[in-house]
Symmetry: C2
Subunit: 353 residues, 2 copies
C-alpha cells in the first residue's frame, strides 16, 4: 500500500511525524506500507512556486492514499490567488476527484468538559457529516471580479448536476446504513433551485435504502438545531459550501477540534486523510500540537482505503486508552490531567498500541 505523505505547513510536520510513528508500529508487525513524502501548500509555493507542484501531483496520483498534515499560514496570505496554500488543497481534491468528505464530530467522554455547550446537550455526541467536496460554488463558472459600467462586480456560480448529487447521496445513505440509519439532508430549497434539485435527487434515492430514514432540513435551521440539540442527528449530508460551514460548527460543539479526523474519498475509496483543525502557525515548531486528530486520520485511512477495520479500531482504542489514562496536550488540558507535548502524546499512543 502506497501512502503519499504531505506534512504541509505550520504544525503539519510535527503531527504527521507522530502519525507516521503509529504506522511504523504496524509496519514492524508486517503491514506492507510504502511512504513517499511530498510538498503541499505554503512550503510548496516557497520551494516551487506552486501550492500543488507537479512532483506532488505524480506522487499523489500514484498513491493508494494521501495523509495530509495542514496547510497555510499568514506569510502566504497576500500572495496572488493561484499561489495561496488553500489552492493546493482545492487543487488536490479536484485532481484526485475526492468528492466525498466525511467529517465525524465525536465527543470523547473524557473531554466532555471542553465543550462550550452544557454536558447534557453534548454528552455522547456522535455525528457524521458527509460534505460534497468537488462541486458547488467552490468550482462553478463563471466566477471572478469584473468591472461593469465602471463598477466592480464579484460573481460566483453555485452548480450541481444530478450525477454529482446522486454519488454523494449514495455515500451518505451507505454511511447511515452502517450507523443509526438516520440521514438528514441539508439544503436551502426555499430559495436556491440548485438545492431544490439536491432535495429531489435525495428523495429519488431514498427507495433504494428502505432501512434509512431520510429527512430534510433548511441550512439556517440546521445551523440552529446543531446548537439546540445536536444529538438529534446521525448522518448529515450537504453541499460543499453549506458543508464547510456546518461541519466546522459541528466540530466546535465538541470543544476539542484537535481530536477530529477527516476523510476525503473518490469513487474507489482512494482517499486523502487529514485533521479537521488548521496549521496553527502560532504554536508551530514548539512540540505543543495535539497529534491525535492526525493519528485518528491514519486510522480512517486504514478503514476506508485499506479496508482494515481491525487496525483502525486498534488505533482508536489506543487513543481512548491514552485519554482515559489522563494524558492531554495543551489544547485539551484541564486541571487533574497530565499535560504532555506532541511527541510525548505520540509516545503514549505507540505504547498503548
Amino acid at each position: 500500500m502506497k501512502i503519499a505523505v504531505l506534512p504541509g505547513d505550520g504544525i503539519g510536520p510535527e503531527i504527521i511525524t507522530q502519525a507516521l510513528r503509529v504506522l511504523d508500529v504496524f509496519k514492524s508487525e508486517g503491514m506492507k506500507i510504502e511512504i513517499e513524502e511530498a510538498l503541499l501548500g505554503g512550503g510548496a509555493v516557497d520551494a516551487t512556486g506552486s501550492p500543488y507542484p507537479e512532483a506532488t501531483q505524480k506522487i499523489a496520483r500514484a498513491a493508494d492514499a494521501v495523509l495530509l498534515g495542514a496547510v497555510g499560514g499568514p506569510q502566504w496570505d497576500n500572495l496572488p490567488r493561484p499561489q495561496r496554500p488553500e489552492r493546493g488543497l482545492l487543487g488536490i481534491r479536484k485532481d484526485l476527484n475526492l468528492f466525498a468528505n466525511l467529517r465525524p464530530a465525536v465527543l470523547y467522554a473524557e473531554l466532555a468538559n471542553a465543550s462550550s455547550l452544557k454536558p447534557e446537550i453534548v454528552a455522547g455526541l456522535d455525528i457524521m457529516i458527509v460534505r460534497e467536496l468537488t462541486g458547488d460554488i467552490y468550482f462553478g463558472e463563471p466566477r471572478g471580479i469584473t468591472t461593469e459600467n465602471g463598477k466592480r462586480v464579484g460573481r460566483n456560480t453555485m452548480i450541481y448536476d444530478e450525477d454529482e448529487i446522486r454519488r454523494i447521496g449514495r455515500v451518505a445513505f451507505q454511511a447511515a446504513q452502517r450507523r443509526n440509519k438516520k440521514l438528514c439532508s441539508v439544503d436551502k430549497m426555499n430559495v436556491l433551485e440548485t438545492t431544490q434539485l439536491w432535495r429531489d435527487v435525495m428523495n429519488e434515492l431514498a427507495p433504494e435504502y428502505p432501512d434509512v430514514e431520510l429527512s430534510h432540513m433548511l441550512v439556517d435551521n440546521a445551523a440552529m438545531q446543531l446548537v439546540r440539540n445536536p444529538k438529534q442527528f446521525d448522518v448529515m449530508v450537504t453541499g460543499n459550501i453549506f458543508g464547510d460551514i456546518l461541519s466546522d460548527e459541528a466540530s466546535m460543539l465538541t470543544g476539542s477540534i484537535g481530536m477530529l479526523p477527516s476523510a476525503s474519498l473518490d469513487e474507489n475509496n482512494k482517499g486523502m486523510y487529514e485533521p479537521c483543525h488548521g496549521s496553527a502557525p502560532d504554536i508551530a515548531g514548539k512540540n505543543l500540537a495535539n497529534p491525535l486528530a492526525t493519528i485518528l486520520s491514519a486510522a480512517m485511512m486504514l478503514r476506508y482505503s485499506f479496508n482494515d477495520e481491525a487496525s483502525a479500531t486498534r488505533i482508536e482504542t489506543a487513543v481512548k486508552k491514552v485519554l482515559a489514562a489522563g494524558y492531554r496536550t495543551g489544547d485539551i488540558f484541564e486541571p487533574g490531567t497530565q499535560k504532555v507535548s506532541c511527541s510525548e502524546m505520540g509516545d503514549q499512543v505507540v505504547a498503548a498500541l
Copy 2:
C-alpha cells in the same frame, strides 16, 4: 405615521394582536399612528393567488413602516415556487429595497438557563448581526434547473457589486459606532471572489470610521467562533446567505428565539419589522405563542423608522420588567416562574407600560 400591518400565517395574527395593543397604549397617549392591515404569505395565496398581492404592495409602499407577524406553513409547501409564502417575504424585501437586516442576538439575564451553552459562555451576550438582504445568491441570475446533455443541472448565481457592499458596510460601521465599536466582517475570500470584493470594499470604508475596529473572519471560522466564544463579537456584517445561516445560529445561542426581534431597512430608514422566529403552525390559534419578539420588533420600529428612542426604550424596559416579575410563555418557561398565555403576556406588557 402610517404602519402597514401584515399578520401573516400561523401564530402571526396572535402575536401581532399583542404588539398592536402595545402600540395602542402610545396612541391613547397621543402618538399619531395609522394602521392598515394587509395580506402576506400563505393566507394571501389562498385569498388572491399571490403571496404578495397588489393590494398589499400598495399599502406597504405607502406606509412609513411595516410590522410583520410570520409567514408559511406546511399546507403551502407543495405549491409551485412563485406561490410559496416565502416568495412573499422575498418579494416585499426586494420591492421595498430593504437591504439592511439588523438582527440582535441578546440574552436576557432572566433567561440565561434557556441556552444550550454554558452560562459563563453566553451570560450578557449582546451581538448585532447586520445581514445584506436584497442581493447575493438569493436574487442572482442566471438561476434555475435545466436539462443539459440529458442531465438535470441546478444553478444559482452569487453576485454583489461594490455599491451594494458599500451601502450595507456603512450601515454596519454606523451600528458599531453606536455600540462597542468593533465590527467583524464575515466572508469566504479564500474561495469566493464575490467575497474577496466584499472584503476589499470593507477595507476601503474603514478609514472613514477610524473609531471602529474592523476585523475579518472566514464564514466557517465564524460558525465555530459563535459556538466557542460568542462574546468576542459586537457587530458582525455579512452577505445574504451567510447572514441567513449565522444569524440563525447566533439567535439560537440565546436559547430563547421567541424573544428576538429584527429590522429590515431601506436607505431612508423605512423598515419592515418582524420576529426572528417562524410561524409555528403547531401552536397556531392556541394562544400559546410568545408575543415578546413581535412587541420588541415594534420597539425597533419606533427607534429606527420613527426616530423615537424614548418610546422604544420604554417598551424594552416594560418587557424586562415583565420577565423580572417572572412571567413566561411556554417556550421560555422554567420551574419557579409563572406560565402565561400569549394574550396574558400582552396584558403584562401593557400593564408594565
